[in-house]
Symmetry: C2
Subunit: 214 residues, 2 copies
């Protein structure tokens, strides 16, 4: 009798990063952090949700810390990929790119309430955990400078000169962070539609002639 049958191994998936169990554990970690917070996330809970044994979870990720870091890395990579896809799309003009960025930042894939909860959990500890900072900071600087360059093109195409590209991009990025946080508080009031609308209105006010910032 075998109440808890062992998982069938898949020899084609030797790489840790691509194994089924690896991703199941990361998904379970994200769900658990979102539901209980970093403090009360235990390996036992995560393992249970991922339907593997506690010992296995630890064996696979070497430590709880490493499991948490891997989950942050997963979110960070997911965001990076969606961002890059927008910046590498040559069919987009500057306005189209900005619109896509806004829509991506409040898409259901990227800005689900669970994922935002995890981001904010890690943000709250970034001050004293250099490992968290390492994962996010470099990317963040890239987003910052790419956004600034994009706004520079936009300003060039319009007669907007009062606000500098830096000001507009920093305002945008901090608004996104703030709205994400507010989604945690009150997801009804700060719906994705509301957030996107608010930001588009911000751009519409700056680039008054542009019809696509509806």
């Amino acid at each position: 009798m075998n109440i808890n049958p062992k998982k069938i191994s898949n020899p084609q998936l030797k790489e840790q990063e691509f194994s089924i169990n690896h991703q199941k554990l990361i998904d379970a970690t994200i769900e658990t952090i979102a539901k209980k917070g970093l403090a009360d996330t235990t390996i036992a809970q995560v393992a249970k949700k991922a339907m593997v044994s506690q010992g296995y979870a630890n064996f696979r990720f070497k430590s709880k810390e490493n499991l948490l870091l891997s989950s942050l890395k997963f979110l960070s990579d997911e965001y990076k990929n969606s961002w890059q896809r927008i910046f590498e799309d040559n069919n987009l003009d500057p306005v189209g790119r900005v619109v896509k960025i806004i829509e991506n930042d409040f898409s259901s894939k990227i800005a689900s309430r669970n994922k935002i909860a995890v981001w904010v959990s890690f943000y709250s500890e970034v001050k004293f955990r250099p490992s968290y900072l390492t994962i996010c900071q470099k990317q963040d600087e890239i987003y910052s400078s790419q956004m600034e360059k994009l706004i520079k093109e936009l300003n060039f195409l319009t007669d907007q000169t009062f606000l500098t590209p830096r000001e507009i991009s920093e305002t945008y990025l901090s608004m996104v962070d703030g709205l994400w946080q507010r989604i945690l508080f009150d997801p009804k009031m700060y719906s994705h539609v509301f957030c996107k609308g608010l930001i588009k209105k911000y751009f519409k006010n700056i680039y008054t002639d542009e019809k696509r910032f509806v």
Copy 2:
């Protein structure tokens, strides 16, 4: 011999809320959360920093949870008081009031890196701790509606009609939250001066004729 002398009681300070030790413990809690995070904040560390015994800290606050809640309440009240002082100041016109609000939101008293770290720590758990939400949410709604009313006066005094008071106030509030979070990441880049400047420029762009949004 008395290596650890007991504290001298002060009969005039019977109310828990006003005792010296009460505040010392709250200050120590804020420092500890900022330095280690909610997860790794232990009663022992807080008690040590406040220079009282571990048992005393627990006795005074009944539980760790209650100590954390009291610290959040302290920050929340501190913010509320500074906000109210600005709104009750009859010498201020709408523009002056907005400027004061901005300056308050990035003052060294309100927006110290430690205090921001504590705010963000609690924000990150607000999703599943109703007690945290209770302390913040009602106030937050008040700030929201007072700000909106203030902007309404401002719009009335100017020819600004494109952005609604609601849009401007929500944009402002989310920018503040976002910038606070970014101060945690990179306090050098997101200095108080930079943050205030960015927000004033936002208003300057809307109310172009107003000289005080420098």
